[in-house]
Subunit: 216 residues, 4 copies
Amino acid sequence: MVKILCQQNSILNQYIAEIRDEKIQQDSLRFRRNLERIGEYFAIRISEHLVYDPREIITSLGVAEVPVLVEYPVLATILRAGLPLHQGLLNVFDKSENAFISAYRKYHKDGRFSIQIEYSSSPDVEGKVLIMTDAMLATGASMVLAYKEMLQRGKPLHTHLIAVLASSEGVEFIRRNLSNTEVTLWVGAVDEELTAQAYIVPGLGDAGDLAYGKKI
Amino acid sequence: MVKILCQQNSILNQYIAEIRDEKIQQDSLRFRRNLERIGEYFAIRISEHLVYDPREIITSLGVAEVPVLVEYPVLATILRAGLPLHQGLLNVFDKSENAFISAYRKYHKDGRFSIQIEYSSSPDVEGKVLIMTDAMLATGASMVLAYKEMLQRGKPLHTHLIAVLASSEGVEFIRRNLSNTEVTLWVGAVDEELTAQAYIVPGLGDAGDLAYGKKI
Amino acid sequence: MVKILCQQNSILNQYIAEIRDEKIQQDSLRFRRNLERIGEYFAIRISEHLVYDPREIITSLGVAEVPVLVEYPVLATILRAGLPLHQGLLNVFDKSENAFISAYRKYHKDGRFSIQIEYSSSPDVEGKVLIMTDAMLATGASMVLAYKEMLQRGKPLHTHLIAVLASSEGVEFIRRNLSNTEVTLWVGAVDEELTAQAYIVPGLGDAGDLAYGKKI
Amino acid sequence: MVKILCQQNSILNQYIAEIRDEKIQQDSLRFRRNLERIGEYFAIRISEHLVYDPREIITSLGVAEVPVLVEYPVLATILRAGLPLHQGLLNVFDKSENAFISAYRKYHKDGRFSIQIEYSSSPDVEGKVLIMTDAMLATGASMVLAYKEMLQRGKPLHTHLIAVLASSEGVEFIRRNLSNTEVTLWVGAVDEELTAQAYIVPGLGDAGDLAYGKKI
């Protein structure tokens, strides 16, 4: 299932406008803060689909029955662009366990590239809800590869994949490769074009560079 | 109109459970952080009811049409218990103007009290959306008085009143005194009892004391 | 004793440059964040003058002797411009009790004004270290009045007064009215001029308006 | 040069006490927040050693001469335990470029291990000040290896290495392998013992697990 959140009115759209804007994104503090707030927004929306159980809470004046989260989801992110988003999710789900994965593009002589997993640190995810974030869903190959890497740590109950911006091609790639029962894909907005270099257009440029500086 | 947010599954209920819990609330950092997160949650939900307009955003790779907030709401809060909540709203609506109001209970010889406005600092609110927060809605008298104080700074287009916990009596008081076209009341949860000293039961105790320490 | 922190190299000066800059201060998120970071800076510097006592801490692998804060200082602030600064102090001293005070300028027919206390909420400060913040120290009258208001809640062991920017006249006013044994004044920078309307020049304008919007 | 910050009275010691305490560290929100605050503390102390230049700042009322940071340091961190510390540094130095490195212990058949670099993403550091953080300095091997990895991105002007807790053996290892002119080592506290499994005693346990959950 694919959920495209920009279709509903909310402050999310304001943040997406700001991270796309080539002037506003020059302020890397605000750029990271916007990704963090977008992460909080996704977390809150996904929190509506988790399982809660009524618990008797002892207050200083009596007893209240309040539903509490039965189990916190595991939060996974793809380095480095996913980190500010992940911070937003962790702001909301402060008791969650966390996973960090890095995938990189290995360029071949013919100019094409394949995605490879480099670093991966994760808790057991067997039977747990997993939320995995990346800033951009371009071809979709990194997300699928990172998800499959996570499966080596157990079979999640259900996985929520998050990307702020996606290309329609990337969304299609997820649809073809992962089943609805297995994953829900949450995206902020979907852009039509994907360049040969796998840049989303109009997109926002390179989210990692804008958050953390150009790497060499 | 009254919106009771605990009726829907979301992480909000987890935060409400924690601020009510007499053990967890001993950690004032977490207590304030929970109020702040509750403020962010209310802000996001209210943001779905604001007005957005498509704007052409120039990205580094093209042009994207994204809806942006036409006008930020004015954020008002009632001191001091409302401050952490207000911080949460300002985290979401970072370009908002802000108002601060203090109301206090003036005790009479017979043990009864009336509410009086003490401090009030506010921008012009004429024709703007106003969001006013207080931690608790006990009798409802402070909220109505603070709202009326705000009307001296202009007539808002619409006002959203927020309280984390409310007594049913307080909700009823708002209903009787303010019209649906004028205000929407958003509450986290509604408790049945209100003591003679105007404490909500089971409630959570004194939100201001828990966030900032007992005052003398 | 007066401590002027800009005289030493540190990131504080970068923040002061940003809050003074009429272009950068247009971003109220960054303006508030800079005041908050300045508050954290002052808090850390003042923390070097508090009392610590070695405590045996049980770790998962052994026992460590670590000095801990014997008593958290009480944090007081002057509304509304002091709030972002106060947030910075509370970030550092998360277990502190808090006081909020509002003072306003009451204008007389002849154009002159006197300062009056309006709102005041405070814990007992008897025998405790008190830290009181305001964004600007213009004439110094509000700070002295707010300090005297605090004395009604007990006699502090020692008081640290903080202002980001001060006029030399304001510093002089504190020196004349409060003794060294009683208070230490910490300021970010001292500007020479104070206009007839009590604006610090070159200063930064109205800190309250820049953080929270113009009030009417 | 080695700087051991716990030797001076400051709030840093309170945070170190809390992250060591096996009860308090059960709250992972507070544990991460303490590491973040420790990162801010280190950042502020290191900021006293950076280069500032007076700049004329145009305020709304005049011109102020204020020293500003000539160049922001590059912030590097070792995954995953270094991330909350790094967040603290980035809170202070918001315009910095960032590097992320992962090093892991590759265990050999005889139970010994060697440290290997896995993931590394970094800007050019030629001629720049570099600040590199890790939560713990156990044997010192990861820190030295990560530092040498950074040298492949250019020769820094000077490097500040940060660890919250260090073993005396780790400190000695840095001293032997890196020169004073090249690096300054900043540590919160130094513990005497290092177990055969390279755990610092009394230490605090596994900082990565405490911040992000046990990995498998």
